[in-house]
């Protein structure tokens, strides 16, 4: 940056200043690194390596942010380990982005370190506020338990405590033997040391060995003594329960594991639960449940994911048995339809276990979610192998109401175990999120787990529901709608599918945004319909009521921002642009993954439940505070003067900044590097040559003689360069001024030499046009006088690494004419799917993340435009002229596309 005191205060300061500037400019060009071919290749590869690494870190960071946000809203429990782990992983990835950007930019952007340090320091202070609960009580009574006690009692018992103490629903009396207790147990007498010894060297592929070691360890734990203190505490609490009982007290001991990713449904139901335990067996059963931590499937699961045994604790709930007359399972929604207007009840006589483990005959009901909760469907007698149950309509209604309430409280559809005792009282035994789609659960691609981890209940029951052929939602929805629930009969579904990027329902007129021109016209209250969720569209989210994108994932920038703004969004909704019509009114149900014609009041009335499961708990507060330093996006507009390092206030800003600048740095690689003249091979074409080619890596065929000073097109392997060239040469330049025939080369030659065409020609005489290429990469810079154009493309193996960019600056005509030309180019490029940014007489256009074939077609368009818009600013006097050029160019381009791609 020049400062005022750089200029000496002398009488002729003006002249001197001018000289100073010229010197400065000249020296700038002179000091540009002049690299030999090998050096240039190395530099390019190093940049390219950093670029790819940056993109990877960017994707990781965005996914982590999405995961943290979803934890707040998805109704699941999480501990400090989750918060700390994600903050750490996030800061590591952003550190890497900054590191790679700095290298990409040859040492610039180091000032990003300052906001990064400041933000991570604030984050560290936030997450340091709460240390993990190291020591606590050995036993907590159910009256003391709610979601915030998850670190002591495990998720299962924390949820049950929530049901009892915050919702006031009936659950069995009892207590939880905590994580602290199990830690005491296994650490006494070096039990853990012996367990570790036995696990050492265990071959998980050898199933026999696995089962043997697993059984041995379980046996070891089952026979180990409890400390007197713990045993006394358990028996004392048991005694307390017994004093309230008339008969002999029987309890159920339920495992509630802590320290594993319990949101992963594939692991649910893994550990042991024992029913009808009498006093004399309570302590023994406790030991056996703690031992079930070492069931073979659990060992495999933990080892594959790197969980330390020491960090996984088995908490055990000890609950009074319910003398069940009828018991079963209740889904607050159909497992395969998150918007079903009914609950599903599975019931069997006696205890819930017969339904849960699938051992007994069950009966199924569908009951409306709306009061008075009528039974919509009851399995007919002939479908049953036993006489129908005595579940009354009243009981069914009570169950349905309870299911709806639990879902509202936990913020997500629930899978509930229940029991009605002989006095007719309903008890909730367990409530947990209904099985999520496989894509959201933990994945384990190992061949081991696929045959050792048992099928989970949710999927089994879900399948049986479908197999029994329950009528589809539409057949019952009329009834449901009478009660004002869900969707009216026969709403016109326009689109269905995609992934929910931000929950909720929104209604408004469709407005498709394909280019920046559309962006400016976007009306408040419209539904934003796009092909790709570019971060640039984020500026529309305070005006949009919903977003529908044909592509994209919940981890995309735009999805993060949509969640932050509370704008419902569906991504990956195929055919959205083709199906929807501009200005037509639609209702977007992002939660249900559907777009309906018209306004569906009943859907809009379903305010998305704001789950408060963890709200108020210290961990929830910590995550909320941490996210304030992470997700808000302040840098939405790269053209804004505030789009700079010190404008980064959050980690999201840093990712946005780094990504944007990395792309720019890659686009301008050739710009910043000079090269040794010998590296450049002159392109042999039938014309006075202006074109030089530099191989960065593998852009020339192997049989090309590196000593040769010339190269022809046949020796060029670069697909992007060939495509540009094809576009440049497809049509002779027909526009004014009239030129003599002589092929395209002479046109270029003429245009550079005729001073009437370009007043800047004198300085352009020495300029050459260079292609920097590799097989999949091409950077073409074209300089002619005041004109400057740059095309760059990378067509790699991964879509995330693919792009085409185009920059265009300058012109010799007056500003109005130059603007008309820029406008014309912008419009044409927008029509071909480019994102165009325009500032005065400079423009940039980009396409990213598209397949190679698509990008090659766009390169032909750019090649054509490079040649055919060259001097049109000189003659482009008005809008009519511009319109006529527009027409001609589009006609040519359509011919070009037809010619080269028969399928187009």
């Amino acid at each position: 940056m020049l400062k005022g005191n750089d200029f000496p205060e002398q009488p002729n300061a003006g002249d001197q200043n001018m000289t100073f500037f010229l010197d400065r400019l000249t020296s700038l060009f002179r000091t540009k690194p002049r690299l030999k071919p090998a050096e240039l290749q190395a530099a390019f590869r190093a940049h390219y390596k950093d670029f790819r690494a940056l993109l990877t870190a960017n994707n990781n960071a965005l996914e982590l942010m999405a995961e943290m946000e979803q934890a707040l809203t998805a109704g699941r429990s999480f501990g400090m380990a989750f918060v700390r782990g994600n903050c750490t992983a996030l800061s590591v990835n952003i550190y890497k982005m900054i590191h790679h950007l700095t290298r990409l930019a040859d040492g610039r952007y180091t000032e990003l370190d300052q906001p990064f340090r400041a933000i991570t320091k604030q984050l560290e202070q936030v997450i340091a506020l709460r240390s993990p609960s190291a020591e606590g009580a050995l036993i907590l009574t159910m009256a003391e338990v709610d979601a915030s006690a998850v670190d002591q009692v495990g998720e299962k018992m924390a949820n049950l405590g929530e049901v009892r103490n915050r919702l006031g629903l009936r659950t069995p009396d009892g207590f939880v033997i905590t994580a602290t207790a199990s830690r005491h147990f296994v650490e006494a007498d070096a039990l853990q040391v012996e367990i570790n010894r036995r696990l050492k060297g265990l071959d998980l592929d050898n199933l026999e060995e696995l089962y043997t070691v697993s059984a041995g360890i379980q046996n070891l734990i089952s026979n180990a003594p409890l400390s007197p203190e713990l045993e006394e505490a358990i028996l004392a609490h048991h005694q307390q329960l017994a004093t309230d009982s008339e008969d002999e007290l029987l309890v159920a001991l339920r495992s509630s594991a802590l320290g594993e990713d319990s949101s992963n449904v594939s692991f649910a139901g893994q550990y042991r639960t024992q029913l009808n335990v009498s006093r004399e067996f309570v302590v023994q059963t406790y030991r056996e449940i703690v031992a079930s931590k070492y069931k073979s499937q659990a060992i495999v699961y933990r080892q594959q994911r790197g969980y330390r045994n020491l960090d996984v604790h088995m908490c055990v709930g000890c609950l009074r048995m319910v003398d069940g007359a009828i018991s079963g399972v209740l889904y607050s929604r159909a497992p395969d339809d998150p918007r079903s207007p009914y609950v599903i009840i599975q019931a069997a006589p006696g205890l819930a276990a017969t339904v849960v483990d699938g051992s007994g005959a069950t009966e199924q009901f569908r009951v409306s979610r709306t009061p008075p909760h009528p039974i919509l469907h009851r399995q007919s007698a002939e479908e049953l192998s036993h006489s129908p149950l005595a579940l009354t309509e009243l009981q069914a209604a009570e169950l349905a109401a309870t299911g709806v309430r639990l879902e509202e409280h936990f913020g997500t559809p629930q899978d509930i175990e229940w029991s009605i005792d002989r006095c007719g009282l309903l008890y909730i035994l367990q409530s947990r999120p209904l099985g999520r789609p496989a894509s959201e659960g933990g994945q384990d691609n190992s061949s081991i787990s696929s045959h050792t981890v048992p099928q989970i209940r949710v999927s089994i029951v879900g399948r049986s529901v479908r197999q029994r052929g329950l009528p589809a939602m539409q057949q019952v929805c009329g009834q449901a709608d009478d009660k004002g629930d869900a969707v009216p009969c026969d709403p016109l579904t326009l689109l269905s599918g995609g992934v929910c990027a931000s929950q909720g329902v929104g209604c408004g007129p469709v407005f498709m945004v394909r280019s920046n021109l559309d962006l400016l016209r976007f009306p408040k209250g419209a539904v934003l319909v796009i092909e790709t969720p570019y971060p640039d569209w984020a500026s529309l989210l305070n005006r949009a009521v919903a977003v529908v994108s044909e592509t994209g994932q919940p981890a995309a920038h735009l999805a993060t921002v949509a969640r932050e703004f509370g704008v419902p969004a569906i991504f990956g909704m195929k055919q959205a642009l083709a199906t929807l019509e501009n200005n037509s009114l639609v209702t977007v149900d992002a939660t249900g993954g559907k777009v309906y014609a018209g306004r569906i009041e009943s859907l809009l009335a379903l305010a998305p439940p704001k789950p408060n499961l963890m709200a108020g708990s210290p961990v929830y507060k910590v995550l909320t505070q941490a996210l304030a330093h992470i997700t808000p996006l302040n840098l939405t507009d790269p053209a804004s003067p505030f789009f700079r390092p010190d404008g980064c206030k959050t980690l999201h800003d840093l990712t946005r900044f780094c990504h944007e600048k990395a792309v720019v740095e890659m686009f301008t690689f050739g710009e910043r590097y000079g090269f040794d003249d010998k590296a450049a091979k002159q392109l042999v074409v039938d014309a006075p040559s202006q074109w030089w080619v530099i191989d960065l890596d593998d852009g020339f065929t192997p049989d090309f003689d590196p000593e040769s000073r010339y190269i022809d097109l046949n020796h060029i392997t670069s697909a992007p360069m060939q495509a540009i060239w094809q576009g440049m040469t497809a049509f002779p330049w027909a526009g004014p001024p009239p030129v003599s025939l002589g092929g395209f080369g002479s046109i270029i030659f003429q245009s550079t030499r005729n001073p009437n065409l370009d007043p800047a020609v004198r300085s352009a005489m020495a300029a050459k046009n260079y292609f920097l290429i590799s097989k999949n990469f091409c950077n073409l810079s074209v300089r002619l006088g005041y004109h400057f154009a740059l095309v760059e493309a990378n067509l790699g193996k991964y879509l995330t690494e693919n792009y085409v960019s185009f920059q265009f600056k300058g012109g010799a005509a007056d500003q109005d004419r130059r603007l008309l030309r820029i406008q014309l180019i912008s419009e044409i490029l927008s029509e071909f799917g480019f994102r165009v940014e325009q500032k005065v007489d400079a423009m940039t256009a980009r396409i990213e993340k598209k397949p190679g074939t698509y990008l090659l077609e766009r390169l032909k368009v750019l090649g054509y435009l490079l040649i055919h818009t060259r001097q049109i600013d000189m003659i482009m006097a008005d809008q009519d002229m511009a319109a006529s050029y527009h027409q001609k160019i589009m006609a040519d381009l359509r011919t070009l596309m037809d010619k080269t791609t028969p399928e187009a």
Partner: protein, 128 residues
């Protein structure tokens, strides 16, 4: 790959490290394990590994210390840090000390394999 990529896992969690090594081998990698920093350094000194996965909690020595020694003696050898206990400070400190990446337990193998592949790819390409 022509020659299987050689990966050294240094971690005292014997069950985890052995399982991971086996699964890497099943995917066509070559893998060895070391339970202590000293053992790990010995294997590295033999010139065998191409990528090192290092737990920051080791019985005989602080993992960060171990990392610094590795990067001092073998600056081009990529090291991925692994830990069961997340700390932002430790994570950033590790990268500043020359680690290629930082990975939190629990991990899945896909993630680890990708990290290893990228760390190795980057170590072979010229830097500036």
């Amino acid at each position: 790959m022509d020659q299987p990529l050689k990966i050294l896992l240094i971690d005292d969690e014997i069950d985890f490290v052995e399982t991971t090594a086996k699964r890497l081998i099943r995917r066509g990698y070559s893998a060895k394990t070391a339970l202590t920093c000293a053992e790990g350094l010995e294997t590295i000194a033999s010139g065998w590994p191409e990528v090192v996965v290092l737990d920051v909690m080791l019985p005989d020595r602080d993992g960060m210390d171990c990392l610094r020694e590795i990067k001092e003696k073998w600056p081009t050898l990529p090291v991925i840090l692994l830990t069961g206990h997340a700390s932002m400070e430790a994570g950033l400190h590790g990268l500043e000390s020359g680690a290629s990446d930082y990975c939190l337990k629990p991990i899945d193998l896909e993630t680890l394999v990708e990290m290893i592949a990228i760390a190795h790819r980057e170590s072979r390409l010229p830097g500036i």
